[in-house]
Symmetry: C2
Subunit: 289 residues, 2 copies
């Protein structure tokens, strides 16, 4: 049995996170749908109750203190946990009335072979529940698991981080370079990573980050695999992907093994404390594939 001394309210956390992200009380207030004065007051109260200065403010600028950055990081995690509690409880309530039993998050276009096999095998289990598949962008999965929008995800090491998640390895596969069918290197038995990266006139594509912005660089900005493959066919870029990406290839593309590229391991991941009956079943099915 535990005691939770009357601590911070999530409202205060939401307010602080908004201000800390905007570094501007007016904008933060607008984003929160309240007026600016109550927001100022709320932050001051929070600072007084914590006995800590969170924001250094003069009338021209607002900046985070060291304690403020800690609360920004921890506060986001806490808000995610609260949001997860909310969503998962709602879903648990509706599960009885036919809603999806599990939400699985995976990267768009990835695991095109594994995923149908997994869903098929699981659906055949005696106590299977409906599985909703959530296709999402790069690096989005961890967030979805944390805030309760997903119960389980397929991640790809070493690209995705699994810190704070429980995982089981499913398959490991080598990577291949994907080239236009007519490219001179397309007939080579294999390529080295360095060779692929140094291909003149064929810079690696740039994927969007979590916030939607693109890193700097020479390569084209791509948003999904369809776009990517078309650009490769046009001879504008090149990419190294796990072997299984072959299954969604266009006709005029060729693959060449890249033995020194790190092998990609597909893992099934879930938040550590949530071990529902249905989730356990799905994981068991996955590891048996």
């Amino acid at each position: 049995m535990r005691r939770y001394g009357g601590g911070m309210e999530t409202r205060e956390l939401r307010y602080f996170v908004a201000v800390a992200e905007e570094l501007h009380f007016g904008r933060a207030a607008r984003r929160l749908g309240i007026a600016q004065p109550p927001l100022s007051r709320a932050i001051r109260q929070l600072e007084r109750r914590l006995g800590v200065t969170l924001l250094e403010r003069d009338s021209r600028s607002v900046a985070l203190t060291a304690a403020g950055s800690v609360l920004l990081r921890e506060g986001r995690a806490a808000l995610d946990a609260v949001a997860a509690a909310d969503r998962r409880t709602r879903r648990a309530g509706q599960a009885a009335t036919g809603g999806p039993g599990l939400v699985l998050a995976t990267k768009t276009g990835a695991s095109s072979e594994l995923l149908p096999k997994l869903l098929g095998a699981y659906a055949a289990e005696p106590d299977a529940v409906p599985v909703e598949v959530l296709l999402c962008g790069i690096g989005e999965q961890e967030r979805l698991l944390r805030d309760g929008r997903a119960d389980v995800a397929l991640l790809h090491l070493p690209y995705d981080s699994t810190t704070g998640l429980d995982t089981e390895e499913l398959i490991t596969e080598p990577q291949v370079a994907i080239l236009p069918a007519g490219h001179p290197l397309a007939r080579r038995p294999h390529l080295l990573l360095a060779e692929v990266e140094a291909l003149p006139g064929l810079p690696m594509p740039r994927w969007p980050r979590a916030d939607g912005s693109y890193p700097d660089g020479p390569g084209p900005e791509v948003r999904d695999h369809a776009q990517l493959f078309q650009l490769i066919a046009l001879g504008r870029t090149v990419v190294v992907l796990p072997e299984s990406a072959r299954s969604l290839l266009l006709a005029d593309l060729a693959t060449v093994p890249v033995p020194d590229a790190p092998a990609v391991t597909t893992v099934i991941a879930w938040p550590p404390h949530s071990r529902s009956r249905a989730l356990a079943g799905l994981i068991r099915t996955a590891t048996r594939l």
Copy 2:
């Protein structure tokens, strides 16, 4: 940038967790320091807003629904995260004024060789901060990390669970049986686990669980290593411990290797998202020992 739609307040979560743990509105209200009617109302409001029945109540008993158990589990995690945000922010504010920079949790009596070495080596680092050591009971460490009372912990696999934590392995050591010096088996070169467990009249001791209660069984209840060793010396029990426990042994005790007992790995563990400069330094020092 993320939006957190106006969701649950921590007060509601605290209330629900109290009721779910007590399964009794009156007791829960007393525990929370409020009257019973506002508590009933708060739970009803929570249920209405979630659109989910959390508790099945007739006027004689209260029981959790499936959704209720989900909210109990997720709510505890969320409250821990909020408590962690609170505590870590407070500490970050006081850190400037000389408070402890890091709080390390370890089991009382364990790692008696490793811990001083680690603290010594870290203190010698150029940018070391003060480290407070928190001695705690079995299985308490995960909780301390989760709710922010500790920043880092020493855990012992396979006894402790590391789900949801980031870890680095430090050392792995075999286990030994600890016997009274005069015991007939004390002169054997090694013992099998089965032999130790079957010792007539020497049942394994029982350790308290997280909630303070003891599992059933024939062995004596022990609370710490001093108590345990005294009981062994008295010939009332026997135990299998990692080799390094030798360093805190009494004179009239003997150790015998137990090669088939699982090796114990000491790991340093920390919550996944909190990677402060000081913490990174401590972990680096630890892995270099």
